[in-house]
Symmetry: C2
Subunit: 153 residues, 2 copies
C-alpha cells in the first residue's frame, strides 16, 4: 500500500463512471498501479494542511510509510482509502493506459465510491495561494523556471 | 472551424508540453479533431458570461456559427483561438487518443501557446456557484439525477 498527491485525477465519462489519473513513472505508486491494475482516489478538501500533504507530495513510499500517520481504511479492492481531510473516496480498475513519456495516464472503471462529507475540494490554486505549496518535480505541471521564480520572491 | 466548452482539458506532462482534452463523440468538434489531428484550447476566465458560454456549451456547430459573435484569431495550425474572456490560448497536435465509450481523450503536443492576460481561470465550481450554470448532457461529468435535483431546487 502507498499513496501520493496527484494534481491530475479527473472524471472522463459518467456512463459508465470512469476516471483517469496521471502518474509519474518514477513514483512507487506507478509501480503499484501497473502491477495491481487498480487504484484509489481520495478527494482532499481545503482543511488539508502542509504537514498532511507534505509526505504524500514530496517523499517516496520507498523511504517512509506514508499511511502510518493518517486515517485510512482498506477498500474493497485492497487499496488504501485516505479518509482524513477527504470529501470522498473511490476505487477503480484500470481498463486502459497511455504512455505519455515521463508519465502514464491510467484510465479506470469506478468499482466503489463513497461521499464522506460535504465541503470544498482542495484545488491546485488553493494549494498555491493559501497553503503556499510548491510543485513537486514529479508533477505533470512541473516547471523548473517557475520554481526558481517562487524561491526568489 | 468550430468551438465548444470542455470541462476536461488538462496538462499531462511538462517536458514535452503535452495536454489532453476529453470530447463527446457526438460533438462536431470531435469530428474536426479526428480529421485534422489538431485542436486549440482557450482558457476562459471568470469574466465569461452565460451569454458568451451558452452557445459553446449547449448548441451545436452543425446548427449555428459559434464563432460569428466572439473575438478570435486564427492560430498557426489554422484552429480558431478565442481571445475574448480568455487568459491564454494554445494549439496542439494529436499524438494519441483513447476510446472511452461515449467520449474520446485526445492527447496532443503543444505547438503554440500564448498568455493573453493575468487573471483567474473559470472553474467548473465557479461556473456552477456564480453563473448558476448547468451541465451539458454531452459533458464527461453529466449526471441526469443531479440535473433533476437542480431543476427542482
Amino acid at each position: 500500500m502507498n499513496g501520493q498527491i496527484a494534481n491530475t485525477a479527473i472524471q472522463v465519462t459518467s456512463d459508465p463512471a470512469r476516471v483517469a489519473v496521471i502518474i509519474n513513472k518514477q513514483n512507487l505508486t506507478h509501480e503499484y498501479i501497473s502491477k495491481s491494475g487498480e487504484f484509489a482516489v481520495s478527494v482532499l478538501d481545503e482543511s488539508a494542511t502542509m504537514t498532511f500533504i507534505g509526505p504524500f507530495g514530496f517523499r517516496s513510499g520507498r523511504e517512509i510509510d506514508k499511511l502510518s500517520k493518517v486515517q485510512y481504511k482498506k477498500g474493497s479492492t485492497g487499496s488504501p482509502l485516505v479518509t482524513q481531510h477527504s470529501l470522498s473516496v473511490l476505487e477503480a480498475r484500470v481498463i486502459d493506459k497511455v504512455n505519455l513519456g515521463t508519465h502514464t495516464i491510467f484510465i479506470g472503471d469506478v468499482v466503489n465510491a463513497e461521499v464522506l462529507r460535504e465541503g470544498h475540494p482542495l484545488t491546485y490554486r488553493y494549494y498555491h495561494e493559501h497553503l503556499k505549496g510548491k510543485t513537486s518535480k514529479h508533477a505533470p505541471t512541473y516547471n523548473p523556471a517557475e520554481q526558481t521564480e517562487k524561491a526568489r520572491s
